[in-house]
């Protein structure tokens, strides 16, 4: 059974996401030693110099979504099931850095679909409690593990359907974030496909560094970051970094 990592990467006018992805890929190779496939566009591919040893799939990304008055190319993730060449896939955000091999355990399991339903805020403030922002529990599409199976296919197909009718589903689930967001799209898809008791999640919190924490440097085993005028560090722990300035670190 083939196993691998799938990444989406589209540069924007403001951010060279491929620079973030380079760090992500080097950590995947070092700590997970899995095959990697990158879904990208022609523009990003031509700017990206370290594409050796990665498979690439070139697509024209969907446009139209914006966040903070900037382009937000996040509309293609629902096609991950169709595009993944692997039987078991880890679908990762490029700003998720694997400093451990913990994710390999999930590929050893027989679950059809796993996603995070809780976050650990590494600055200790528990910023990500969105219980009042919708009538269904939030999930986090930063890390998804799926197996080629009827159930996983139906979840991704439901995300496509939700994307096509996003405003309707936002009203239905009273979601107050009106721009398309994969986290909510997957939360709604899981709710549509499965009763609560049939949903399966990663049994750990997603370690996340909030946007107001600035990464100072990348080390072999973790990152140093500045928060509240202090330098702090994380070692031997996977981390999802929200501050996109890491492209320039």
């Amino acid at each position: 059974m083939s196993k691998g990592v799938l990444l989406y990467c589209f540069d924007t006018e403001q951010t060279q996401y491929h620079r973030i992805m380079d760090r992500c890929i080097s950590l995947i190779k070092k700590n997970l030693a899995l095959d990697i496939t990158v879904i990208t566009n022609e523009r990003t591919l031509s700017a990206w110099s370290n594409k050796e040893n990665c498979n690439t799939i070139v697509v024209e990304q969907e446009v139209g979504n914006r966040r903070n008055r900037q382009d937000w190319y996040n509309l293609d993730r629902c096609h991950a099931y169709d595009l993944s060449p692997y039987d078991k896939t880890l679908l990762l955000d490029i700003d998720y850095f694997c400093y451990t091999d913990n994710l390999l355990q999930y590929l050893e399991s027989d679950y059809d679909f796993l996603i995070s339903n809780s976050i650990h805020d590494l600055t200790g403030r528990d910023l990500y409690k969105f219980s009042t922002n919708s009538v269904i529990p939030m999930v986090w599409a930063t890390v998804i593990m799926f197996k080629k199976s009827a159930k996983a296919r139906s979840i991704f197909n439901m995300v496509k359907h939700i994307k096509s009718n996003y405003q309707y589903f936002c009203e239905l689930y009273r979601i107050d974030f009106k721009n398309f967001r994969n986290d909510y799209a997957f939360a709604m898809a899981l709710n549509q496909i499965d009763a609560d008791s049939n949903q399966n999640f990663f049994p750990v919190n997603l370690p996340t560094l909030p946007v107001d924490a600035t990464v100072v440097s990348f080390q072999d085993k973790g990152i140093d970051f500045r928060f509240n005028d202090k330098i702090m560090y994380i070692r031997d722990q996977d981390v999802h970094v929200l501050n996109k300035e890491i492209a320039n670190v």
Binding site: T100, N102, Q105, Y106, E108, S109, D110, Y111, H120, L122, T123, G124, S197, N200, F201, P203, V204, N205, P207, K230, M232, I234, D236, Q237, D238
Partner: protein, 104 residues
């Protein structure tokens, strides 16, 4: 004690608490292990249950998502659980020692 040193002490206390919280989270992440296609947490509760039931040749356990899994080699499973548990706690212990040595 001056206000300045009180503030330093409070800052250090907060930093230490945060470092401990992050280290515990790291240890808990490390305790997750796959066994027979299921996911288990190598925590004291799981270890104690397997230890309690190990005299039976086989038994069922719930994994981290409350799905049942047949355990037909309790000795092997227990050994893997203990190994994973101690690996995660050893790393946590090292960080804990470092935190204890920090002073204002």
């Amino acid at each position: 004690m001056s206000i300045e040193s009180l503030k330093q002490y409070a800052d250090l206390s907060f930093d230490r608490a945060l470092a401990k919280k992050n280290a515990l989270e790291r240890a808990e992440s490390r305790q997750i292990m796959a066994y027979r296609d299921h996911l288990f947490r190598a925590d004291p509760e799981t270890i104690c249950l397997v230890k309690t039931l190990q005299e039976q040749k086989q038994f069922y356990m719930l994994d981290t998502n409350k799905n049942p899994c047949l355990i037909d080699n309790p000795a092997e499973f227990l050994s893997l659980l203990i190994e994973r548990n101690q690996e995660s706690l050893n790393a946590y212990h090292q960080l804990h020692q470092t935190l204890k040595q920090k002073r204002v």
